[in-house]
Symmetry: D3
Subunit: 306 residues, 6 copies
């Protein structure tokens, strides 16, 4: 069960309203790398988790991320506070309002016109948050790696936001939020490496003949490194060594029943594109008479029938 304290986890002090900056901040409110994504990622894992230590950790961090969602949402709200009132009460002339709403040079008009200056669960482009951002799959050796990566990404987006504002209060709060992603990544790393073994993830081993093969499939300026060289790697550069690596034909096959085969054959006949001939086409009907590609026999009378 959750409970709430109206004091924030980190005090938000905003120097002045700035809807354009608010719009950028939305990336960490309703964006793919933002705090709702983080909170829901760990919350759903926590609910589904049976390991007592991980379950505890996941609920701890999910709860903190919800608290961060509140901090970043409050920053958005403070940056929009003036504009919210001015729009709702319509105290300016229309021309001033239009300039203010479209003047920030980004998508802050959406926050104003559609959301009335409140903090919406969209990213800085106005795209609504979707659970498609969450990549939890219910296996801890995968999910903990996903969490590690998610914290790394969120850290970077905060870094970019910090680089865009000189409001000291906003900068400081963002710094706190960024720092916590570092701490969370460390916890998830510890939890992952407390599972032994954790690689390969899951239960099934790989096919030994393919676990250490590297296929050099992009030609030109090949560059070798530890990711494809050394005794652990079987580096295959020849195209023939990359195709049909099972030793078969590389052609698919399936057994059909007689009924299936018959229907498939019927469809093949009905829909065959005859490779012989050169049928006139709709494009040719539509070409200008002097188009070099226009067919010779496309006389004017043939091409416009009155």
């Amino acid at each position: 069960m959750f409970s709430h304290n109206k004091r924030l986890q980190y005090t938000v002090r905003v120097s002045e309203c700035n809807p354009g900056l608010a719009n950028l901040m939305l990336e960490q409110f309703g964006g793919p790398q933002g705090e709702l994504a983080a909170a829901m990622r760990y919350f759903t894992q926590a609910v589904g988790e049976d390991d007592p230590g991980r379950k505890d950790m996941l609920f701890d961090i999910a709860t903190e991320e919800l608290s961060h969602l509140e901090v970043i949402g409050t920053i958005v709200g403070m940056l929009n506070k003036g504009a919210k009132g001015q729009l709702a009460e319509a105290v300016e002339t229309e021309a001033e309002m239009y300039r203010r709403i479209t003047g920030a040079g980004n998508d802050s008009h959406v926050t104003q016109v559609l959301y009335g200056g409140g903090p919406p669960l969209i990213n800085s482009a106005g795209v609504p948050w979707t659970a498609a951002y969450i990549d939890t799959i219910g296996e801890p050796t995968a999910d903990l790696r996903s969490n590690i990566a998610a914290e790394a990404r969120a850290k970077i987006v905060y870094e970019r936001l910090i680089a865009c504002t000189d409001d000291p209060g906003v900068k400081e709060a963002l710094g706190f939020l960024m720092t916590r992603e570092i701490a969370h990544q460390k916890s998830f790393e510890k939890a992952l490496y407390s599972i032994t073994p954790n690689f390969p993830p899951g239960k099934l081993p790989g096919m030994p003949e393919f676990t250490s093969v590297y296929f050099d499939m992009s030609k030109g300026d090949e560059m070798r490194g530890p990711w494809n060289q050394g005794p652990n790697w079987d580096y295959r550069s020849e195209p023939e060594s990359q195709v049909a690596v099972d030793g078969g034909s590389g052609e698919p096959s399936v057994s059909l029943t007689a009924d299936e085969q018959s229907a498939v054959d019927d469809m093949a006949v009905r829909t065959a594109s005859d490779p012989s001939g050169d049928p006139p086409t709709g494009a040719e009907l539509g070409m200008a008479a002097d188009d070099p590609d226009a067919p010779a026999d496309a006389s004017a009378s043939a091409r416009k029938r009155k």
Copy 2:
């Protein structure tokens, strides 16, 4: 530039048609952990990458994932091949067709009715693939971790699919695809650890006072582990140690201009919910006369005006 060889990277041999199984396979064709997501993840990173070694590796693996997309799509196509012909040519009675289309117990009806038995870029629920599945953000210390996690997830989904089919040809091809995720994870790990340092990701350091704090925000059955105990962690369990950790009030603030303040005040007055009194509500109007919550003064005549 890409080129294509009509032979598959791994020969696909399907024993018999099975649209229900085909539907499950769609998870790795058009699903969030599937091959299109993998191919596009690495391809977009490759295009944006300037480090020559990583760029080469990313193009190599992106190209292989496209080849895997073709393998899994071909499995889907083979499993649907009979049904595709039968639907297109409508050779059965309607009742047989209806049973066949709805009988698999999953979403294979969508593949039949909407996509005609071809391999659509949807997952096994029928949800179209979206680039929201791709979490590339353009910083290698984050993106390589995302790639590591993505390979781990894809490995697990293949493992689950392998557990659902006893068709030996399908099982073998899935085993190959699963194995390659292991190999790719290894390459991405090597590339990540070839960047030094790579933690914390990005350029900005964290605020030292918060990088090693663990907030115990979920109470009951606390369990300690390396993710929150030991000399490296400052474990904070008291609620007061978790709120307003900057030492401030925990209350947000912003400076408003006089015009902004005036508009905000106007809005506050206009929209105030008066906490005194007990106004009759629409819900009360709608209650049955004998509802225990119905207000006493809601006489029949007051509640239906004729």
Copy 3:
């Protein structure tokens, strides 16, 4: 700031695992009328709200909805618990697994294959949750009405779920969740009617000549009722009384600059569809020779050029 207690708000007692039932329950976890939608609806309103009474109420109810999200997610988790283990450890034969995964007759295969039996933020069709479900716009006389409606909808979906299960523990927990929607609706009603006036919502009055007009635009079986009859309504049934009600021509106009007009004219000439004549078309090229619609002059030689 949020905190969490590992005890649930309502104890969840599930009699036996049932992934098919779990799939239906997802409607209230990650569905449009579910608990995440409720929690995020009220949370975002709370963050943006300045009225102290409403802000307090919105945080109270948002926090409770998060606690409900945990309850319904836990129900999903318990109903899937057995299947989760069996899938992860693959202890059955493939045929058994396939039957179990596709046998529920709904979308539970998605929860198994893609999410490993955990509680995903999707609805019962497998569609990921989206913030497009949230209709908050930042004006309390509208948002409180939206909240009232949302509680009504959620109440109904619980009612339907209750009708589908005879597991007493599940039924009881759903009954609790359903009941709380009733209580929340009552609170939101009180808060709305504490704003006076609250209708029309917002600040601008309507144009008096149109606020009480009812346009009877669907003909046949007209039925009058308080929604369109009585002294308060101006009922307009004649088509002429419904069109161009401003008294104008009903035709749009705009002033163009000379440059704009010139470009528009150029485009009109370039893209004009000539209404005279009867041009041969691609469809006619593609008709069978014996199609009654095939043009007479479409001789075989004209229609296949070799």
Copy 4:
């Protein structure tokens, strides 16, 4: 069956082209609170409705909303008309075109480049319209409340758009559309209160012990009002009175079969995170040697193996 009259319901007179203003107007064409959402909301309810009075009303209003969709779309078209021609015929220099297309300061570039100046079914951020905006659930005591709320929201968005333009013809047409939302809300209110009782919505009663409880779950600055005080409310502020309110343990339970239990146990063992010890992690491998968090035993030789 529908029919159409080419005269608009309200004459649209636009003073001059303005693609930036057109972009804002898209909120009511293809946005969540716009006319397509309204029309489809009522149309789908009308088709599914059996009550003759409501069915008639829903078709009437759905048809009017389609007519409003045409009015707002025509406004968009007129505001874009000049730009449409200029883009299609490319009569300006590229630099002029680029400035014009990116100069409006909002998302009008999308309407130009992708949609050629026509009225697309997107909102002002460029997000395509989705039926996820429609919250119809097929129970009139809920759906009518949803309709009431939807009309309130649409009224407000029109109010905001009116505040942004001083084009008298646009302002007047928006005023008409806004006014009609008021009239529609009145009709839906009458239809709702013609159902008795209509609260609680649906058929099932709530659990009496929880219909009038208010959980004070957000602490700090509590403020009481009719939404949580008075004789009708049981106000519960103590955390212990909010958790496991059924009197149980607050811990979830499920009965597993022996096979299920065995698989669950296997998974628990395989994936346990060992809480003892302090395993080295990938993050530690990636730390700079002088990072204060770097483990002491991570000697240079251990951390780079050549």
Copy 5:
């Protein structure tokens, strides 16, 4: 199987960085008419196709479209290259950074803040690519027409982009990409007309009495043309000739079982909106006392109960 050559199909030479222009280019990278949509459209058709000629052609063109995706993505990358470095290294003041990121006047801030300057699979509004853009349905007489149309659309969007830039290298590469859409359309036309007959698409004939009827359902300014006049068309303008054209009542019917009928009747009674009377409504409760629509019997005491 795919392979890759690091040389591009067309050399990309960009004069100078311009993130705003890069943002427009995204339409053809991750937009609905862009190269990923084209590549995936033809690739999925190729995998599902059995006709050897079409399969070969579809793989050829799909592969070329992937190569075009690389070209347009590389243009985006080059145009963003400077901004990418500046953001990652944060070498400017915050004010400069903010101005640069929001100054382009379109959605380039999303590419910077969220994607770090890499080429993301979004369109110029920031909307992620979705497979909903692909309209393949698995029947060649439909799919080839869809491909023809898709090439036409892509050609136009390139035309618009060419009109917006005077960078000669960008212009030239766009010209190449545009030209290839023309060539592809020609190939698809030839393949379509090689199927005989190809109209009507599919297998079933239409009902002869309705294949040549034109319903004039929009009144005012009727204009006739070859699309609705001439001997081939049966033009029906009278409303009575358009409704219930089967000669029936135009009213739907279904047979219900006794149990179904009984439940339907119960629902009808429970949810009936009583058309008699004039019930007071929530809107009336919320009206100002001096609102002309306020009911007379709504005395102050009735409307605020204290």
Copy 6:
């Protein structure tokens, strides 16, 4: 302006309720090839169109498609009518209800539980309709081709639905709807070919050196046909003839300012993956001791630090 007649365009006679069949029908109600997509496609084109003949035709057909949306929605409603009542009134035992709701073998449970048996704007997989299905771009030579293709697709999906039902009334109404797609395609073809020239679409010509080139980029089983052979095609099969076809290097370039170059260089240094060496990785830390890939120096003590 639209008006509505409560009689349907085609009388719907359903023999018996069948929610499973209703679910399949949703493809043409809220699916990508369905009637809403058609209506909105033509309606938005009509609003944006200036050519009087096309505008008239587009409004005529858009209006008819809305009427078809009503017919197919009514079929869905009739097929669900019994189930709707039974769910709302909950007259069966829970076990019966559960079986009925999950027994259809497709997604009809979504229509029941979430939408209460009404006709929702989803497809047969439960995916909400999205305007991303509409490909209108505002240029008639492209849009008319898109319309032709859309009609062809819709015709095919109706054909498939007809093959799945033996209810004579449903079959007949579907036959009517299918037939109208044929008639509409014919009208759009006539309108397209009334524009001369209409190929290439748009205004800009292609680069002559590339309009007739065919790149044979998929190797194996090449098959020639009119789409790539004959005097009109320049068939290029050699890989060298396909790469960098402009004669350049195939390598991208951009001019950077000094500041940009400096930042790019800094980023390159900071994020370089060192290709020398063989760094230990997280995956190696996670390997089982007996994993053949585990590094030799990963002694037990090194790998678990206590």
